[in-house]
């Protein structure tokens, strides 16, 4: 087989790259060893959001509807039905991608790929046959996998990673989450809402340590409300099989402690998938963290070979992979495209949600920038009260001299959707006034960004502005 561009991996980087290539008239082949859509669609973003939404709905029905005068006597959870609802969503989306690729005349080969040379790849198809593909360009979009801890071998039964945690047969009575990053907390909080007793073990001195402290405090409040135990500064050491359960031995600042639960969920981070492709033979260079080194055109150290998404460096986020996929495709088509984005947003589906675009307060300070930081609370917005979602605030960071918007972090309801306005503002090089002077519809959550921008100028209407 001979093809212009081979894309290894059909995740949010790879399939987007292939479609963009097809749009630009370049013949592309996607090689996928599992399901189209990658981790994101099959065992990551999408299924976890389904479980999180279901858990939130269940929790509200049980604990919060009463605030609005709605009485439901003892709502019941059919956990297997919830999981199968989630599975239907991922199947639907995955076949949708198959349809898009087909409609764009992109071929798909199911199997694993291994480089023979910089212009040839061998695919061991799922069917067992070996196919050799000659190509001019290749985009490596193999993504990442959960980091395994040697002391905690994942069996997807008692010891699970994020994939296993989304495919449990029955609702666990208890679960220990090792790693208080966004994946561990999102699912930990969701399971807590469904009724699972959650213990979070985190090595750092705070969960979500990448975010500013004041942001994390809002989530910690809810963690407490959900009766989740958080052991910070704690190292998971070993485990013991305790019959139907598992016991974690960990070292807390107060000494060694044992915690027993139905499952141990390991979520300490992800690592790039660079093995098994014979990359060494091509001389494709990796950086110290094991990511494939790429330039701003996503070109690796070997000409004609590109890398995008998780395998090509931080942040390991689907939307970054998709953007890079488009750029790599355009570079292959001879366009003058480069990865020159001004921001890559991050969203966390904890309760409440977090959305961040541009710089955080601590990043801006670390850069020594002269900034104006302001906050605006959800509780001052009508819509937040009418939906019973008053926790959280918007943090607005601007250049103190020029008033350019440098960063916006939202912690609160719908933060994951609201952050898009901040993304556009930063990408456009907006000034604080640009947001403050734009009429936002009332009564919506969206007003909070306008108010926060006004607050940054000392002119918020629905808040008393600090005196300078």
């Amino acid at each position: 087989m001979k093809i212009n561009t081979v894309v290894i991996g059909g995740g949010p980087g790879g399939y987007v790259a292939a479609i963009r290539l097809a749009q630009l008239g370049i013949e592309a082949l996607v090689i996928e060893k599992e399901n189209l859509g990658g981790v994101c669609l099959n065992v990551g973003c999408i299924p976890s959001k389904a479980v999180i939404h279901a858990a939130k709905s269940f929790y509200k029905a049980k604990n919060e509807f009463g605030n609005m005068g709605i009485k439901i006597s003892d709502p019941q959870l059919d956990f297997p039905a919830m999981i199968s609802w989630k599975d239907k969503i991922t199947q639907k989306l995955s076949s949708g991608i198959g349809g898009l690729l087909k409609g764009n005349r992109v071929s798909v080969l199911k199997g694993t790929a291994s480089f023979v040379s910089k212009n040839q790849i061998e695919v061991l198809e799922t069917s067992g046959t070996k196919t050799t593909v000659d190509f001019e360009n290749c985009i490596i979009a193999t993504g990442s996998s959960p980091i395994a801890l040697p002391a905690f071998p994942v069996d997807q039964a008692k010891i699970v990673d994020s994939t296993g945690a989304l495919a449990l047969k029955k609702l666990p009575a208890s679960m220990i989450v090792v790693g208080g990053g966004y994946i561990g907390l999102e699912l930990g909080m969701a399971y807590a809402k469904l009724g699972t007793k959650i213990t979070v073990v985190e090595f750092a001195d705070s969960v979500l340590s990448a975010f500013d402290k004041d942001i994390v405090q809002v989530i910690e409040k809810k963690i407490k409300k959900l009766s989740i135990d958080v052991l910070t500064g704690t190292k998971a050491q070993s485990f013991k099989d305790s019959g139907s359960q598992v016991t974690l031995v960990c070292e807390t600042p107060a000494g060694v402690r044992e915690v027993t639960a139905d499952h141990l969920f390991i979520s300490i981070g992800r690592k790039p998938n660079t093995g098994g492709m014979n990359l060494e033979k091509l001389g494709v260079e990796l950086d110290k963290q094991g990511f494939i080194k790429v330039n701003e055109m996503l070109q690796t150290s070997v000409s004609g070979i590109f890398a995008i998404g998780d395998v090509a460096g931080q942040p390991m986020l689907a939307h970054k992979a998709s953007k890079e996929g488009e750029i790599a495709a355009e570079v292959i088509a001879g366009h003058k495209s480069v990865m020159d984005v001004r921001q890559i947003p991050a969203v966390v589906f904890t309760d409440p949600e977090v959305g961040q675009a541009g710089l955080s307060e601590k990043e801006a300070k670390a850069k020594g920038l002269n900034i104006t930081v302001s906050r605006f609370p959800y509780a001052a917005i009508g819509r937040a009260l009418t939906t019973d979602e008053t926790d959280g605030f918007v943090k607005f960071i601007s250049d103190a001299t020029t008033r350019e918007v440098l960063g916006i972090t939202i912690v609160g309801a719908n933060a994951s959707d609201l952050i898009s306005e901040a993304c556009l503002a930063i990408e456009m090089g907006a000034f604080v006034e640009d947001i403050a002077l734009t009429v936002h519809p009332h009564p919506t959550f969206g007003e909070i960004l306008m108010e926060a921008a006004k607050g940054n100028l000392g002119e918020a209407i629905h808040m008393l502005n600090p005196k300078h």
């Binding site: 330039n295 070997v302 003058k336 001004r342 250049d399 020029t402 350019e404 456009m428 090089g429």
Partner: protein
Amino acid sequence: MSIFTVLLPDIGEGVVEGEVIKWLKNVGDALAQDEPVVQIMTDKATVELPAVKPGKLAKQHIAEGKIAEKDKPLYDIELAAGVSAPQDSHGHKEAPKQEAQVSEKPQATKATASAPVLSATGKALATPATRKLARDLGIDINQVPGTGKGGRVTKEDLEGFLSGESDSAPVSSEARSGNLPAVTMSKTPVFVYEGDERIPLRGLRKVIAERLVESKTIVPHFAYFEEVDMTELKKLRNELKPLAEEAGAKLTYLPFFMKALTLAIKKFPIINSSIDLGTNEIVVHKKIHIGMATATKDGLIVPVIRDADQKSLIQLANDSQGIAQKTRDGKASSDELKGSTISITNIGSIGGLGATPIINYPEACILGMYKIQDRPVVRDGQIVIRSMMNISFCFDHRIVDGANGAEFCNYFIGLLNNPGRLILGS
């Protein structure tokens, strides 16, 4: 371990930039002193640049297919232990800092525009669409003074930047064409069919494309056809051929045509000229340097026979064959491939009765030579068989009018019809 930034050195008189054709070393590769690091194509010659110091290739500043500018960073060497940075003009000890670049920026002409305003993150204030336009136009947007609110760079600023001050501005070669209209390729979408092959337009092919678009866009061409009676010239050449061979030269018809061209130019000097758009003057060249269109495996290249009017037929024969071979072998230097004042394209050896060649800009004239055929012609009321060759001239009509061109051509073919006049020199 110190990092040494190597700048694109002077690789030929008047060469200000070159396209990076191929990196011969990848980042991280060890470099021995004088080991070739990168292939650069300037004008029409491709050169390999050797490592100025031993060490390790730390960074490639210019991607393959992109333009490297003279005295701008080309690559970084992580110097081997104990090696000191050279103190000549080929490198800086450290890459220039942002402030240094900003202070070198051109002063804007518009009253409202001032120094480029950069965001706290060190980048120009501009929307994603404007940034994309800048990339497409080959402009470093961080160098563009913005006229928008707070120094924002607008699409209009980019256009103004291109048309206004492209001499000193950091604009890539695609965008740089003096005060001339920017040369752009057609924007009509390409039809794509199954089985189409895509070949990147780069290297020599790209230069050819750009040069010819430039010529056809700027120069109002007009073509003029004539025929030369080669019968006498054929006889003369057959007589001189063995003598030339004794002197070590292979005598083709080309040297005779060159000779005739130089004599005709002496009579009609305006043919050997160029328009200088910068000063609005016609520059009439006293030197006669003949460009000779030469087919190579990579495409058309035009090496130059210098001072053709000062050379004998034997010298012209030797020079044209020598330089053609050198060009085909890819060994001609950049200086040997530029500076012609008039050009000849000879496809007669392949075939063809006529064509309208494109002027080798900024020249004013190109001569096309075609196949020699025995044809029935009328001489003194009788049909006789003579050896005939069609020729065509394409002229720049801004300089040469139809009548001038015709007179020049008449004189030119007169010399060839009676080749004795070539020896006479008039």
